[in-house]
């Protein structure tokens, strides 16, 4: 492994200006060149993550790919994961699993389907099964790729293509697709023969854990596809990449307390 690469806000701020009007591939290339094996594609295998993975693989086939097996994923996701590994044989896949002691403690206390009972319990479940393993993995990195796009959420429209992730120890968060539209992502997948998650073809707009995700009808809000039973959930926890934006951890800390 190379030595740690640490930037401060001023350095990364100017680099972000340089990269702002560059194509996603150029941003990916910059990150791989800068961080080598200390940057990883972190993805739940959704369309954006697959596009970034494909771009990175074309530059550095050994690229590190991190995904979280929460233990509650749909069968289709496990099947797709194998398909992705076959398609990108040289990539270094890390499939993270939650800490079994934390899961057992949570389940002993609240049951296995706690997320249906309250927003707090759903957040707790997300936290233990998905976020904590991810945060542990990020601690060993100097940078990570996300599939964040500016148009996904109106209050995040100013995200930079590279920025310091102060929610995760100040490592560099690389958002190569920041200014792409959803259409551009899908066009990229098609043009490059990148596989996409099969649940998209069955009406899913976002793909997560099996009990918490469902297909939506045409014209229906994306929000209807995730945690549709909840009332009074904090905004932005409903859809779209809350962990990548840091929003999830802010909400969890504010709602469940700092010790969460």
């Amino acid at each position: 492994m190379r030595e740690r690469v640490v930037f401060d806000d001023l350095e990364i701020g100017e680099i972000a200006l340089e990269l702002d009007d560059k194509e996603p591939q150029e941003v990916v290339a910059w990150a791989l060149e800068t961080f080598g094996d200390r940057v990883a594609v972190v993805t739940a295998l959704q369309a954006e993550g697959m596009a970034v993975l494909d771009m990175a693989y074309r530059i550095l086939p050994q690229v590190q790919v991190i995904t979280v097996d929460t233990g509650r994923l749909p069968q289709a996701t496990y099947a797709f994961l194998d398909q992705v590994r076959e398609r990108y044989p040289e990539a270094t896949f890390r499939v993270l699993f939650p800490d079994y002691r934390e899961v057992e403690k949570m389940v002993a206390r609240h049951g296995v389907n706690l997320f249906y009972r309250s927003v707090d319990l759903r957040l707790l479940c997300c936290h233990i099964r998905k976020v904590r393993p991810l945060v542990r993995a990020l601690e060993g990195l100097d940078g990570w790729f996300t599939g964040l796009r500016r148009e996904q959420w109106a209050s995040r429209a100013a995200i930079r293509k590279v920025e310091l992730d102060h929610d995760h120890g100040g490592i560099v968060k690389v958002n190569p697709l920041a200014d792409w539209t959803k259409q551009e992502v899908w066009e990229y997948l098609e043009a490059n023969g990148v596989p996409h998650h099969p649940l998209y073809d069955r009406g899913y707009s976002s793909i997560g854990c099996d009990p918490c995700t469902r297909p939506i009808q045409p014209g229906e809000d994306d929000r209807a596809g995730r945690w549709w039973w909840e009332v009074n959930a904090p905004k932005e926890c409903g859809i779209h990449c809350p962990i990548e934006t840091g929003g999830f951890e802010h909400e969890v800390e504010a709602i469940l307390g700092r010790g969460a």
Binding site: D8, I12, G13, A158, H166, G169
Partner: protein
């Protein structure tokens, strides 16, 4: 999409040749979802839809509409479960007692009795529920204030010198210009679809206390050939891409005031019409236009837009002290103004109400400052001690350590969705510690604490600037709050962006790190004199030296790259409080010469002008006196220690 192009924004044709290549509106709308959001429905129009949104309930309000509410100074609190921050604009920070009383009442009724003074001389409430917004906005307006454009792509609160109109040193009374600009721009739809936020400051304070260096647009008071007017600076700003504003090199006469407003409009228009700054919000601020066009190119566009040439002029440098704290005589005979520090800018509704009452009683007014304090204006001489006593009873002690007045903190992670660490609480904790250790010696030191790189509390230009981040605690593996520490920033005569010297200092250790640095500076100041600022102290030291001082460790340990010069006794003061220095050199003399570059006074005390060891010093290499070796020519290796002891008996 060509038909979607807005009226009034297509006048670029006659500027061809002056402009850099322009992207198309189609590209702008494809790349920038906020441009789409603004085009679909003007954000200011959301106000009339509030009853519908309330009926729908917070959860069902689309995020796009919440973003539009920004244009009315309204934004999510954290967590996003239905309460909001409401930001009130106060031109120049000037409020009457009646307005202050109204703000106190609104805070008590709708905002849990809490308020924050902001670095834009405004005031912010929190905890306001969606269903209360119509009443709150109306109550603010009934008090003669406004929230229009408090956030969003608008002209934000216009700041000024808080003692405008009463300061004996001011060049002229700038209030009519500030008021005219606020009247024209606040809520003006032609200036509410800008590429991004836009910050004006207008003042005639010779100290330039209003930070023109970090504003998008600054009118800097000046006098040219006996005529009052302004220099123009454009393109300053902080966040992760700080820029010091550029002097456009022109003079704008004070009269007529409409002419000044005309120039402000033109400055903003040449930017808002340039589509280069609408493609990406990360590059939308006017500072990036100055990066691209330079001050000369910008001036050509401006003059072309105005249809006249402006007079050449150079922006005058700031003169004098900028915080206006304490008691000062006014321009008006028999009156004083009194600047009062407010810790972290936090005030309760009770305090605001009490303040309104006592200030009303003496016929004065209140002025909020950039550093989150307030000034009471128009205090009759005979009421000064009465007022001071009344303020003390409200917990607003005018004699509080002035350090509380030269420190700021952003809204903090309690409320803000960007902040990752506590700021107001942390600031108060550090201030209490500094006060306990160093008392009142710290007057003038600026300490700004932010929770994210956006720098609402201006940490990049604090002498000490803390920015929240997170790190992993080595012992437990837990994620903990931490701070990056930037040192040596400043404004006014000392304008500079701080250097990030320490990264990811855990929250529990950052206070001690700051204390050590401040302690070392005070030691050095004893030698260098009272003018020697913390910024001076930082400028004279490398990052490595400052890190070693802050973390209380021996620079050589674990590195071994240099020779350690260890000093004792009276020599300590001459080395700025450092008890050791890590230096390069092949002989004792070379090591001392290396030290001379940073600490000339230290080496002058050790060596005579002829270059011999002074009778006041004994020098050892390890255990050996160098006189028994080869004197100053004794060879040294990295990792070895050269020790300088004071000669007790005069040698």
């Amino acid at each position: 999409m060509a038909e979607m192009v807005r009226e009034g924004l297509v006048e670029q044709v006659r500027e061809e040749g002056l402009r850099l290549p322009q992207p198309s509106w189609e590209l702008v709308l494809r790349r920038n979802s906020i441009e789409r959001l603004k085009l679909e429905k003007h954000p200011l129009d959301i106000r009339s839809e509030l009853p519908e949104l309330i009926a729908k309930g917070y959860e069902a309000v689309p995020e796009e509409d919440i973003v539009r509410l920004n244009w009315w100074g309204v934004t999510h609190d954290k967590p996003k479960v239905g309460t909001f921050m409401v930001r009130v604009k106060i031109p120049g920070g000037l409020v009457t007692p009646a307005q202050l009383a109204a703000l106190a009442r609104i805070s008590r009724e709708y905002g849990r009795g809490y308020a924050e003074l902001t670095t834009r001389q405004g005031i912010q409430l929190h905890w306001v529920r969606l269903e209360a917004l119509p009443e709150v906005l109306e109550a603010v307006e009934a008090a003669g204030l406004s929230t229009a454009g408090g956030e969003g792509d608008t002209v934000r609160n216009i700041t000024s010198c808080p003692v405008a109109g009463i300061d004996p040193a001011e060049l002229f009374d700038v209030r009519p210009v500030v008021e005219a600009a606020a009247r024209f721009f606040y809520g003006n739809r032609d200036y509410s679809n800008l590429p991004r936020k836009h910050k004006y400051t207008i003042s005639a304070c010779p100290a330039q206390c209003n930070a023109p260096e970090i504003h998008d647009v600054a009118l800097v008071g000046a006098v040219k050939d006996g005529r009052p007017g302004f220099a123009l600076r454009v393109g300053g700003g902080l966040s992760a891409t700080p820029r010091i504003s550029r002097d456009i090199g022109v003079f704008i006469p004070l009269e007529p005031v409409e002419g000044v407003i005309e120039v402000l409009r033109a400055v903003t228009d040449v930017w808002q019409e340039d589509l280069r700054y609408r493609v990406s919000r990360a590059k939308a601020r006017i500072k990036f236009m100055l990066d691209d066009y330079g001050p000369e190119g910008f001036r050509r566009l401006l003059e072309n837009r105005l249809g006249v040439c402006l007079e050449d002029f150079t922006c005058p440098p700031p003169v004098g002290r900028a915080d206006h704290l304490g008691l000062h005589p006014q321009r008006q005979e028999g009156y004083f103004y009194l600047g009062v520090p407010v810790p972290a800018g936090r005030a309760s509704a009770d305090q605001l109400e009490g303040l309104a009452e006592v200030v009303g009683e003496i016929g004065g007014d209140v002025r909020f400052t950039r550093e989150q304090n307030f000034i009471v204006g128009w205090v009759p001489e005979e009421r000064v001690s009465w007022l001071e006593e009344a303020l003390r009873r409200l917990g607003l002690d005018p004699e509080r350590n002035p350090l509380y007045g030269t420190s700021t903190a952003c809204t903090s992670h309690q409320f803000c969705n960007y902040s990752v660490a506590e700021t107001k609480e942390k600031l108060e904790e550090i201030l209490a510690e500094l006060e306990e250790r160093f008392g009142t010696q710290l007057e003038g030191l600026t300490l700004y604490v932010d929770g994210c790189p956006h720098a609402c509390a201006h940490h990049w230009v604090g002498e000490i600037g803390l920015q929240g981040t997170t790190t992993t605690e080595a012992a437990t593996g837990r994620r903990v709050e931490a701070y990056n520490v930037a040192l040596g920033g400043g404004l006014g005569t000392r304008a500079a962006i701080g250097r990030v010297v320490l990264k990811r200092v855990p929250s529990g250790e950052v206070g001690e790190a700051v204390s050590r640095l401040v302690g070392a500076w005070l030691e050095a100041r004893k030698v260098r004199g009272s003018h020697y600022s913390f910024q001076d102290f930082c400028r004279e030291r490398t990052d490595e030296e400052l890190q070693a001082l802050a973390l209380g460790r021996v620079a050589a340990e674990g590195r071994g790259a240099g020779v350690v010069l260890r000093i004792f006794g009276p020599f300590l003061e001459l080395a700025g409080g450092a008890d050791h220095l890590e230096l390069e050199g092949g002989t004792v003399r070379e090591v001392l010469e290396a030290a001379r570059r940073t600490y000339p006074a230290l080496v002058e005390a050790i060596l005579t002008p002829e270059g011999q060891v002074s009778t006041a010093a004994n020098i050892y290499l390890g255990e050996e006196d160098i006189r028994s070796l080869q004197g100053l020519e004794t060879p040294v290796r990295p990792g070895q220690e050269v020790v300088v002891l004071p000669a007790m008996s005069g040698g």
